[in-house]
């Protein structure tokens, strides 16, 4: 059986796409993916999603979006997509245990935390290096730690981690933060947070011991290096789009983000993309949700045109 719409990914973009597609009676199938719920599952209070004046916890917001999409008939499948074939119709989307067919596919696979790329970082992942403050902050009660990054996520992590850590050093490679003014003000005002500007993490020690004990920092303006004694390093330097599945099938930019045109269309007719997988500019829960809505409406229109050939937008392959 072929589904009208298959949504890959279950963050704000995917869930909003599923909600709109379900309300259009398209009975969407959603493959939730490994990191079901997306990046918001790893956050605490979300204070900038309209409609929640007191803020809402990230996981609670995602649970509510999921319930809402399900209420209108979206079918949710746990599990990860392992392969897609977007070169033939119907499109196929394969998970660990099954291959699903879809007349349209909405890609909302989002983005995952970017790493520094040091060998020592990989070796100490889970033993001092982390990309998830809400997961791992607990292990650093009363200990000095560092956060690397200068955006909103980095500030949020730094502020959250002050609950546990004795001190938080924010390491940023520029001399100003990219974070929003309100987050900057919170971080600057916090007595437990200090900053290392124009600075990069050169080495994480000590992989040989199996535990993080210090960082070698380099100030790239003065060229000076120094050791910073910390037990934890939280990496919050941005995200990379989850597009490995689509390599060679969909058009991407140099950083791997899917390229969309005329709303949410990819270069393959019938395949749409929304949320962080195609957005390296805004990257907000609300913009992801907005583009998820657009993708569902675009898919709905595409299916209507497909059903009514006289107003068909795309030419069908030549019939012999």
């Amino acid at each position: 059986m072929s589904h009208s719409v298959i949504v890959i990914g279950s963050g704000p973009a995917g869930l909003t796409a599923a909600l709109y597609a379900a309300r259009a009676n398209l009975k969407p199938l959603m493959i939730e993916g490994l990191e079901a719920g997306g990046q918001l599952m790893m956050t605490t209070a979300v204070e900038n999603f309209p409609g929640f004046p007191e803020g809402i916890m990230g996981p609670d917001l995602m649970a509510a979006m999921r319930d809402q999409a399900q209420r209108f008939g979206a079918e949710m499948r746990r599990g990860n997509v392992t392969a897609v074939d977007l070169t033939r119709r119907p499109f196929t989307v394969t998970t660990e245990d099954k291959t699903h067919e879809g007349r349209t596919v909405i890609i909302a696979t989002g983005a995952s935390a970017k790493l520094l790329g040091l060998a020592s970082e990989r070796a100490l992942m889970g033993h001092g290096v982390s990309t998830c403050a809400t997961c791992d902050g607990f292990f650093f009660r009363g200990k000095p730690i560092a956060v690397v990054g200068g955006g909103d996520s980095a500030m949020e992590e730094a502020i959250f981690l002050t609950r546990f850590a004795s001190h938080v050093t924010v390491i940023h490679r520029r001399d100003t933060l990219r974070a929003s003014k309100i987050m900057q003000d919170k971080a600057f005002a916090h007595p437990k947070i200090s900053f290392e500007w124009n600075t990069e993490v050169e080495e994480i020690r000590d992989p040989g011991e199996g535990v993080l004990s210090s960082l070698t920092l380099r100030n790239h303006v003065t060229g000076a290096t120094k050791q910073l004694g910390v037990e934890g390093l939280f990496v919050a330097i941005g995200h990379v789009p989850n597009t490995t599945l689509f390599k060679g099938q969909l058009e991407m930019d140099g950083n791997g983000f899917l390229i969309t045109r005329d709303g949410t269309r990819t270069n393959v007719a019938g395949v749409f993309a929304c949320g962080d997988v195609q957005d390296h500019v805004y990257r907000q829960a609300i913009t992801a949700a907005g583009s998820g809505c657009m993708a569902a409406l675009d898919a709905q229109r595409y299916l209507e045109h497909e059903a009514a050939p006289e107003v068909r937008l795309e030419k069908s392959p030549e019939v012999r």
């Binding site: 719920g37 790893m42 997961c135």
Partner: protein, 109 residues
């Protein structure tokens, strides 16, 4: 989700239940407040069902069992460690799918 094949490891029973076990033992370090740990639960449960008799699978709550958590220097969860003959033979840090867990286990059977 059936989890009758999942054992509960603690600071108290770890040495007997894991280190002295006859079969390899997969230990899932987790906590209530860890979203990714909950997300990985179905994969852990399914794996336990598939490997009955070959690998025992259990969970260790890091909140309640600080001494084992410290002993293995676990500072991030979910962390899954595979023990064989009392030694760690492999580990995975962070959320992974069942296929990845299976591949790790199969390497050591």
């Amino acid at each position: 989700m059936a989890s009758e094949h999942i054992q509960t490891f603690t600071d108290g029973n770890f040495d007997t239940g894991v280190l002295k076990a006859e079969t390899p033992v997969l230990v899932d370090f987790w906590a209530e407040w860890c979203g990714p740990c909950r997300a990985m639960e179905p994969a852990i449960n399914a794996l336990a069902g598939d490997y009955v008799g070959k690998v025992s699978v259990g969970k260790l709550n890091v909140d309640d069992n600080p001494s084992i958590t410290m002993r293995y220097m676990v500072r991030g969860i979910p962390t899954v460690m595979l023990f064989k003959g009392g030694q760690i033979v492999d580990q995975i840090v962070g959320l992974v799918d069942k296929t990845t867990l299976k591949q790790m286990v199969d390497r050591h059977l």
